[in-house]
């Protein structure tokens, strides 16, 4: 149930091959970390999971439970419970995160006792947990926000929509240590709910607060090494060199 299965995935971006045969399985509730140097294809994988129009699947498949994600549109994938925290969240002038969330919430299957007033309160409570001042809830989303504020807004949104699997792309860039701690804490809450996590990261800073079940190293569009959290620690000490020398 709700296992994410990627099989032999080949993806092109602007007619250039970026992913060259990715195989990956993330079981329900598992935390999987994708690491790798810049340009290894990590973010392309994240975007492909959500069917970004620039990412063209040439071969292979992505399945989540009974849903064949590689044949679905972005919004259908989201509504199937797979959500993405973007590396570069877009500014939407004139639309606040509260506007967006109240519209988005209606698009998802919700429990029978779902109440909008209650949901609005949850938005405020989650913002508080992330130490995000209330004014950010009514300002234009991401417009003039600092890198850290944008990342918090991503986690805020993903916490409030009924997600089953969350892909988090470079959440640690632009966050100071205190903010990173708060974000990691919020992500841990999601994990306790049984949400699967795919964490894409260049550094393993966030892994100080989040334990990974599996760690995969990507290089040139392939997974070149898989292991446990010990692998991440090794990379912190010795760098990628040992894994990417062919």
């Amino acid at each position: 149930m709700s296992t994410l299965t990627i099989k032999n995935l080949h993806v092109q971006l602007e007619n250039k091959p970026i992913l060259n045969g990715i195989d990956l399985t993330v079981r329900k509730g598992q935390t999987c970390v994708l690491m790798g140097p810049n340009g290894s294809g990590k973010s392309t994988l994240g975007n492909t999971l959500l069917a970004h129009p620039a990412c063209r699947v040439e071969r292979g498949s992505i399945k989540f439970g009974k849903h064949m994600l590689s044949k679905m549109k972005t919004d259908e994938i989201a509504r199937a419970g797979v959500l993405l925290a973007l590396q570069h969240p877009q500014a939407i002038p004139g639309v606040s995160v509260t506007n967006l969330l109240t519209i988005a919430a209606r698009k998802f299957p919700q429990p029978k006792n779902f109440k909008m007033a209650h949901f609005r309160q949850e938005i405020k409570d989650t913002a508080k947990a992330l130490h995000t001042p209330d004014e950010f809830l009514s300002r234009s989303l991401n417009e003039g926000f600092s890198g850290g504020e944008k990342k918090k807004m991503e986690i805020l949104q993903l916490s409030l929509l009924p997600a089953k699997c969350i892909v988090i792309d470079e959440i640690d860039s632009g966050l100071d240590i205190d903010a990173l701690k708060l974000v990691a804490k919020q992500i841990s809450k999601l994990r306790k709910r049984g949400v699967s996590l795919v964490i894409i990261t260049h550094y393993n800073r966030i892994l100080r607060w989040l334990e990974a079940d599996r760690v995969h190293i990507m290089h040139k569009g392939k997974i070149v090494k898989s292991g446990t959290s010990a692998l991440a620690k090794d990379i912190e000490k010795n760098g990628y060199a040992a894994y990417i020398n062919e």
């Binding site: 959500l50 919004d75 989201a78 939407i92 002038p93 004139g94 967006l100 519209i103």
Partner: protein
């Protein structure tokens, strides 16, 4: 530019406001314009001699003046094919129950009686050329507020009307359409707010043009006396017919010392209407005039509300949204004259062009020598979701005083693939994502509208754009 002269409007049947309903008249003038028709209109209305003369003089100006050629193509407009006056009913009603069923249906579909009960201080309904329903809450009547259709005002308040009607503000000799308006005007709103009276609920008039190839020439005259304040809202629609109709309204507003006026209009004409209006306010010392406009529908719209900042410290705010879809040309903007020291003005103009539509911001900003300390800021934002539409900005600025602060910004934005992807990744469909970006773009203007209008305007715009994108 053949697409401008296409006369067949695109049907959008979902829109009750544009649904064609039976035509009904008790009097209809012959087509075309002549001295006789102008006299006939005046005679039917049993007007005093001065108004009859004003009309006839205006008719002479109309015959003399050329069709303006500096803006959009008006070659599809044929003055001889238009019916200039039609009257549907004798008399006026003070109760929705008395209003004939088919007219009542039209207005109920657009939600007018409901809105009156909910949040308005007064309402006038106009069907074809004349007002048929009017009501002002007694509270305001008791304070001396006058709110009636302009024909009634000519009979009941001739001194006020004669003093202000196309005299100091907009003159019939200014251009061909102002002259035509002076000759054949009918209906519209007359609003007088006495000194120091603050009306805290909006007043509203709703105009409905229902007959084919007809003209609507309502005249709105608003006088806000010293220290008073008022918000007035006009809504306009016409159904879809295959022949060109003309809407040439005039709005004159007098904002006296320390007074405040907000004029809001949401216009949703059918796509065969030439919408050519002249609107102007004269603002005296410390007065404030706000113009809020949403221009939807129509084939060609020319509209440049003008603020004449005559008194020291006078202020004008212009907020406008124009939406130009396939085959439509929106030529809109603002004219501001700073004639006294410490006057200030702000213009925020937003346009959306899609499906080959053309929107143009045409602005005039004039600051005369001696208007020291004046401040003006103009911001034009255009949104173009595709590559086949057009957006123009033509700001004309003439400043003869050095001690002023000026700002002008113009931006053209697109709806980026990244924005749409971002919103779709939160579960919104592509259409919903685009609509949300559009709504966000208009938000600075939408938020100044009463809630009911904000909801309606968002709905109309997403309906206009439905199916044209993606």
């Amino acid at each position: 530019m053949s697409k401008h002269t296409t006369t067949l409007a695109r049907e959008h049947g979902k829109n009750a406001g544009n649904a064609a309903l039976p035509e009904r008249f008790v009097h209809q003038a012959k087509r075309g314009i002549s001295r006789e028709i102008v006299e006939e209109i005046s005679a039917i209305k049993n007007e005093p001699q001065w108004m009859r003369e004003l009309r006839l003089n205006a008719y002479e100006e109309f015959m003399r003046l050329p069709v303006p050629t500096w803006g959009p193509d008006l070659s599809g407009l044929h003055f001889d094919e238009i019916t200039y006056y039609q009257r549907t009913e004798e008399g006026r009603y003070k109760n929705w129950e008395e209003v004939p069923a088919d007219i009542k249906n039209t207005f109920e579909k657009i939600g007018i009686p409901q809105a009156e009960r909910a949040f308005l201080a007064g309402v006038i309904g106009q069907y074809e050329s004349e007002g048929f329903y009017q009501k002002l809450r007694p509270k305001w009547e008791d304070k001396g507020v006058i709110f009636c259709d302009t024909d009634t005002a000519v009979q009941k308040y001739p001194e006020l009307v004669r003093k202000y009607f196309m005299t100091d503000c907009i003159k019939t000799k200014e251009h061909k359409l102002a002259a035509l308006h002076g000759a054949v005007w009918s209906g519209g709103t007359f609003l007088y707010v006495p000194k120091g009276v603050h009306i805290d609920m909006p007043l509203q008039t709703y105009f409905r043009m229902n007959a084919r190839a007809s003209g609507q020439f309502e005249h709105t005259l608003i006088i806000v006396d010293e220290g008073a304040s008022v918000q007035y809202i006009e809504g306009c629609t016409a159904p879809i017919y295959g022949t060109s109709s003309l809407h040439a309204a005039v709005v004159e507003i007098f904002v006296k010392k320390g007074a405040r006026s907000r004029y809001t209009t949401i216009q949703n004409w059918s796509k065969d209407v030439y919408n050519l209006n002249t609107k102007r306010a004269i603002v005296e010392e410390d007065g404030i005039q706000e113009w809020v406009g949403g221009s939807l529908g129509s084939k060609t719209t020319m509209l440049y509300p003008c603020s004449i900042l005559k008194g020291r410290g006078a202020r004008a705010e212009h907020l406008n949204i124009a939406v130009a879809g396939p085959g439509q040309h929106k030529d809109t903007g603002a004219k501001i004259m700073h004639l006294a020291p410490n006057t200030s003005s702000t213009v925020i103009s937003k346009s959306i062009s899609f499906g080959g539509g053309i929107s143009t911001y045409r602005g005039l900003l004039k600051i005369i020598k001696g208007a020291k300390g004046s401040v003006s800021h103009v911001q034009c934002d255009a949104l173009m979701p595709d590559n086949i539409s057009v957006s123009n900005t033509i700001p004309y600025i003439k400043v003869d005083e050095e001690d002023v602060t000026l700002g002008h910004e113009a931006k053209v934005g697109r709806i980026s693939e990244s924005q749409v992807f971002y919103l779709m990744s939160r579960g919104l469909t592509e259409e919903e994502a685009i609509n949300l970006v559009v709504q966000g773009f208009m938000e600075p203007i939408i938020k100044t509208l009463p809630l009911e209008y904000a909801v309606e305007l968002n709905r109309l715009i997403s309906m206009e754009m439905a199916g044209s994108l993606g």
